[in-house]
Structure formats: C-alpha cells, structure tokens
C-alpha cells in the first residue's frame, strides 16, 4: 500500500507534469520525478517496490533508448510497463515514468551511464542489461575507466539473484561482470560483416589484465568484437545469446539468426545498421530473461518502429527528412557507415550543439570518421551553436570549402537542406541531442510530426 503522504506527493508531482506540457515547456518527462525526488528522496525505491514483476534496467553509451523500446515492443502487449520511453533517463526521468502508470506490472528503464549505479542501488532491479561503453562526453562523464569502475561497484552490490545480461563483445563490460553469478553473455558471431580493422577512435583495445593490444578475430562496432589477449590472459567469453548470418539491407532493415539455448529464430528488424543488430540482440536477451518466448521476440522485433530521432523518417511535403541522432564517435561512425553503404547522401544537414546534454566539449567530432561522406556530398549545410567547428571538421576532412554552408539557425538550415533536395528525395539530417529535439519541435510546429512525448506514448 502506498502511504497517504506518498499519494499526496505523487498527485503534486503529476500535476506539475501536466502544467509543464500546458506551459509549452516540453513533455513534462522529468519534472514530476524531480519534484517527487525533492519531496521524498526514498520515493523511487518505494514506487519501484509496488511493481509486482519488479524492474529491469538498460544502460549503455549507445542504444539505450532503442534497446528498451524493442523490449517494450516484445513484452508490452502482455505486461503493463512503466517505461521511460521518451528517453528521460536520469533518476528524475525514472521516477516520472513510475508516476505515470498506476497499475504497471514491470518497470523497464533505460538509465544514463552516469546515473546507473544510483538508480540500480535504489530500485533493486531483477535484471540489468549492459550494452556497451564508448568514449562519450568526457567533460560530463569523465574517463571511460571511471564509468566502468562505478559500474563494477554497482554490479557487485546487486542482489546475487538478479540476472546480468552483458555484451561479451565489449572487453570492458565482460571484465566488470566476470565472476558474478547469473551472468548471460550476448554478442555477434558473423565475421562476414566485420570491419577490416578497428576504427580510429576505438576504446578499450588493450588487455584488461596485461595491457597488450587485443587481437580481433572480428571487429564489429567500435571496439566491440571477438577479441583475444595474445598473452593468453583472456578472450571473449562464450556467448549465450548470439546473432549469426547477419544480413544488412541498406537504409531499411537488417535480419539475423537469433541463436539461444531455447532454439534459433530468424529475426527481421526494420532498422538499418550493425549497431541496431546489437540493440536487437541485447533486447532479445533481456526479454528472454524476463520470460518472453521466442515467438514473442520474433513478433516484437519485427513490429518495431524506430525511437524518435533515431532513424526517424519525417515527411515534408513532396520530400522527406531522415533524422539520425549523432552524439559520440562510436555511434556517429555507425551512422556514417550505414549511410555510405547505401551510396552516401548528396545533400546533408549536420547540426552540432554544445549544451550540457550534448556535451560542452565538441572535440569528439574530430574522432568521427566522417571522411567517407566527403566523396558523394555536393552540398553540406552545417548548423547549431558550433556550426563553424563542423565546417572546419569537413574542410580538413576533404570537403571543398565552397560546398560547405554555415547556417547557425537550425530551422533555416533545415529549409536550406530541403531546398537543395529534389522532389521525391530524402534529406539526411544528423543532429546532436538538443539539436534533434529542436528540429523535431520545428517539424511539430509545422504539423509534420507529433511532439516527442506524444510520439513516444
């Protein structure tokens, strides 16, 4: 039973969420939780305890939102979920999601890498899914090793009965989960889709034990792959849930065999790129741990539609906008790789903001392998608060300066890009997080999309 005090606090906090929407200040996806956390710091744990089926957490540098959304698609028809699907993934966002659904049975929360230890400590999840750790917003999270050290401590403090689903292809994650009970390893096993070598900005490529460079039998995304310490210290753990026979179908879809102890299924995911295969395998593993059947997984993955801003197609008159969030080198590299596999865009709008949610340090754009886009690009519109920095990135990356247009204002940049896009064509837009939200706001004002808190609902 919820105490009277908590009920009152919940009512107050919910009212604030509605007010925030009414006031046009966004979806109110974090404000109720912030208020609740202020009124009663222990409320998060109390609210989570009410969930009869407990909670599951998803954390990673890249793919949290998509992974959790796929799990939601798999389980949502059968189980009532409290799910922070709009991507508000700090303590306040999780609390807000718990507040919005009264009769939820299971909590499904994506959690920011930095907030993961705190949320895990308060919520006592029954399952935790860890996808990857890449260099990201060093000004905000600190060095990768620090994040990993905090995760290691958080895992050690979890209930031993909790299931930990870990991406074994990430040497750092496999290492922090080593020795824990109830660990399930997922990963990819198809050298035909591997890269020839590690990308420039690969992290965690030296043996956790001895420091020697890992030898990769296959490198898939960033430093994720089938690795081996040449001094024999360790190698990728055996996989429990595996993607094999992977097929990448341009900008449209992927398919693969999901191999598990319960059997093998061919999954068709309506999302492009190898990084989304990782998301689908992570989601399938978590769904299995939460009791889903292979039938439910096959159907849920097949039904999935992209989370907002992540490969979202927005019609704009006789043209369309293809919105692909970029936020760090590993993720942006995969977006570029997927675009180039499809021939690469002739016109693109790239938006770089440097607000706190984007990272104030914009140096990461120099670690992205944007160069493969240079060949096909005839017109590049750079925009956002740090548009000029992007212009430099492409100028020094081989795009002639006269093909680069600096338009700081996001809306005007979008219109410039659309003007350069032929009728029936698709404009590729790569924004950082706050630029993506702003561009969706523009699209919403023009009636092209629903606002993100509705789109996600």
């Amino acid at each position: 039973m919820v105490g009277v005090r908590l009920q009152l606090e919940i009512a107050l906090a919910r009212a604030a969420g509605s007010l925030s929407r009414l006031a046009g200040r966004g979806g109110g996806t974090t404000l109720p939780g912030k208020i609740l956390a202020t009124l009663d710091p222990a409320a998060l744990g109390t609210l989570a305890e009410r969930l009869p089926l407990g909670s599951a957490l998803v954390s990673a540098t890249n793919g949290k939102t998509t992974t959790a959304a796929i799990v939601s698609e798999i389980l949502g028809g059968r189980i009532r979920l409290a799910h922070n699907r709009a991507g508000a993934n700090l303590v306040s966002g999780v609390a807000s999601a718990l507040l919005t659904v009264d009769d939820a049975e299971l909590g499904l929360f994506e959690v920011d890498e930095g907030a993961f230890p705190d949320v895990a400590g308060r919520i006592h999840p029954r399952a935790v899914c860890l996808g990857n750790l890449f260099r990201d917003q060093l000004d905000r999270y600190g060095e990768l090793e620090l994040v990993a050290a905090r995760w290691r401590t958080a895992l050690a403090q979890l209930d031993p009965a909790a299931t930990v689903l870990v991406n074994a292809d990430d040497p750092l994650l496999a290492d922090i989960a080593r020795g824990r009970p109830n660990v399930l390893h997922f990963g990819l096993d198809d050298p035909s889709v591997a890269r020839e070598r590690l990308p420039h900005a690969a992290d965690s490529k030296y043996c956790r034990a001895c420091g020697a460079p890992y030898e990769y039998r296959a490198a898939y995304v960033g430093h994720l792959g089938d690795y081996l310490c040449t001094n024999g210290d360790h190698q990728r753990p055996p996989l429990d849930v595996v993607a094999r026979s992977i097929e990448l179908k341009g900008l449209e879809a992927t398919s693969f065999d999901l191999v598990t102890v319960m059997g093998t299924r061919r999954l068709s995911l309506p999302l492009p790129g190898l990084y989304n295969v990782y998301n689908a395998v992570a989601a399938s593993s978590l769904a299995l741990a939460l009791g889903a059947s292979l039938d439910e997984i096959e159907a849920g993955v097949g039904r999935f539609r992209p989370a907002f801003g992540r490969f979202e197609r927005i019609p704009a008159g006789d043209k369309a906008v293809l919105l692909l969030l970029i936020k760090n080198p590993a993720g942006a590299n995969e977006v570029v790789r997927t675009l180039v596999a499809d021939g690469g865009p002739r016109v693109a709008v790239i938006a770089l903001n440097d607000n706190i949610a984007d990272g104030r340090d914009v140096s990461w754009i120099w670690d992205v392998d944007f160069e493969p886009l240079a060949g096909a690009l005839e017109r590049l519109v750079v925009t956002g608060g740090r548009a000029a920095e992007l212009a430099l990135r492409f100028k020094y990356g081989g795009v002639p300066a006269d093909r680069i247009e600096v338009v700081a204002d996001l809306e005007r940049a979008l219109d410039r890009g659309l003007a350069e896009t032929p009728a029936g064509g698709e404009l590729v837009v790569l924004p950082t997080y706050t630029a993506m939200l702003a561009l969706r706001r523009v699209a919403a004002e023009r009636g092209l999309v629903r606002p993100y808190w509705e789109a996600a609902a």
Binding site: P213, V362, S363, A388
Partner: protein, 251 residues
C-alpha cells in the same frame, strides 16, 4: 628542392583521447596547401627516436591507464627527444602529453610517474577536475599578441619552474593549476598545453607557428608562410572565445 617537414607522432594508438588527430589533420593540410611536403611517421612503444630525423613531434592525451602504459617507454626516449628539442625541433604536447614532457606526475597516492623533463614543470593530481572552455592571451612572437581558444579537462595541477615561460595568460578558464593565472609551457620550439578542442583547427596561427619552426629546423632559415583563407577558422575561434568568456571554469 621541394620543401618538406618530417613529423613524429608519439604513441597515436594510446594517446588520442581528445581528438588529437584533428591537430594532425590541420598541420598536414596547412603544410600541403602551401606546397610543403608532410612526411608523417608514427613512433610507437619500443621504437627508437633518432635525433635529427623529425622536425616536429606531437604527443596527445590519454586516460590514466594509457598514460601509465606509455610512460616507462617514453622515459627511455627522453634523451634523444631532449636532444631534438635542443637542436630546434618543434613540439606540441597536449594534456597528458604535456604532463609527460614535464619532470614528473605525482598521483593522489603520492606515487610518481616519471616525465622526460623536456619542459620545466611538474604536475600533481588534484581533487577536482578542471573542466571547461578556456581563452588565453599569448605572445609567442614578441609584439604579436594572439588569442588561443580551447577546452580543458584535467585533474592534474601543473606548476612551472621559476623563470619558465607559460604559453599564455588565462583570460577565462582554469589554466595550469587554477591558481596562478597562466596556462601551458613553452621553451624554444616546444609548446605544452592542456587546451584541446582540438586546439589547432580553431587556432590556425599556432599551427602555422609550429610548421614554420619545423621548416626552419630543416632549412636552417626562417621561412615565409603564405596566408590561407581562414573564414571558418576565425568564426569557430570567435564562438569558442565567447563560450570561454561566458562559461569558462573558475573555482
């Protein structure tokens, strides 16, 4: 004879955390655009440095783990690198690389990681990280003050020896240690700094200064470098300087 410079990039596989390759791209393009050959060579673990081979050295930043992995190897290269500096080779060392060019880095437990003493400073780990946009006023050529805009993210506090030259005076941001109002260290053609961003794209004048020093070492005379169109560079520098003035770090 075609003009060229030979560049030695120390440990690019280990020290690359703050997009150091952006600095390298700027040095390379600005040399090539002027018809100056750019002979890029990496110097890795266990590879030796022959004094006289390179005109310009670059050392980037790494995480603590990577820095500890390269420090003993770098110590073994100390003598030829100091010799190269004494004979006029240019150096750019950023963040972790800057610390490693000093005499030592003392961590929180009091343990010391040896540096190579190429620049006259030492570094002590601090409690709080100093993170934010930075703006400096520099005067590498007497009578020619210049602004340098970048981003800093370091826990180490660096202290220069008496009489040592800082790279610049801090207009906004923390700088070497958040106390004395100076940033970086410079000696002859060597520059060490905490500023990344990366540093050179939005501060092309420093890239040109390094190219000129490197070329001077090779040719034995100071070259004239033609100017290049720097519109994007200037506006990126302006935005970065504004950020530092508006939100640069201070205790």
């Amino acid at each position: 004879m075609k003009r060229k410079i030979v560049v030695g990039h120390l440990y690019p596989d280990y020290l690359n955390i703050y997009a150091d390759r952006g600095n390298m791209a700027v040095l390379e393009r600005r040399a090539v655009w002027r018809g100056i050959g750019f002979d890029y060579r990496t110097i890795g673990l266990g590879e030796s440095v022959r004094p006289g081979e390179h005109d310009l050295y670059y050392v980037g930043g790494g995480q603590d783990r990577e820095q500890a992995l390269v420090a003993p190897d770098l110590a073994g290269k100390g003598e030829p690198l100091r010799e190269a500096a004494a004979s006029g080779a240019a150096f750019l060392a950023v963040c972790g690389g800057y610390q490693l060019l000093g005499r030592f880095y003392r961590d929180r437990s009091g343990a010391e990681l040896p540096g190579i003493g190429l620049l006259p400073h030492y570094t002590v780990a601090g409690e709080r990280r100093m993170i934010g946009d930075v703006l400096l006023e520099c005067e590498l050529a007497p009578g020619e003050p210049r602004l340098l805009a970048g981003f800093e993210n370091h826990a180490g506090r660096t202290y220069l020896d008496d009489g040592a030259e800082p790279l610049g005076r801090v207009v906004a941001g923390f700088g070497n240690n958040g106390e004395d109002g100076f940033e970086g260290s410079t000696l002859g053609g060597a520059v060490g700094t905490y500023l990344h961003g990366p540093l050179l794209p939005r501060n092309p004048w420093l890239a040109d200064w390094l190219i000129a020093r490197a070329l001077a070492r090779r040719l034995g005379e100071t070259p004239e470098l033609e100017s290049l169109p720097d519109d994007f560079e200037s506006s990126a520098a302006r935005v970065s300087a504004d950020r530092a003035r508006a939100r640069g770090g201070r205790f």
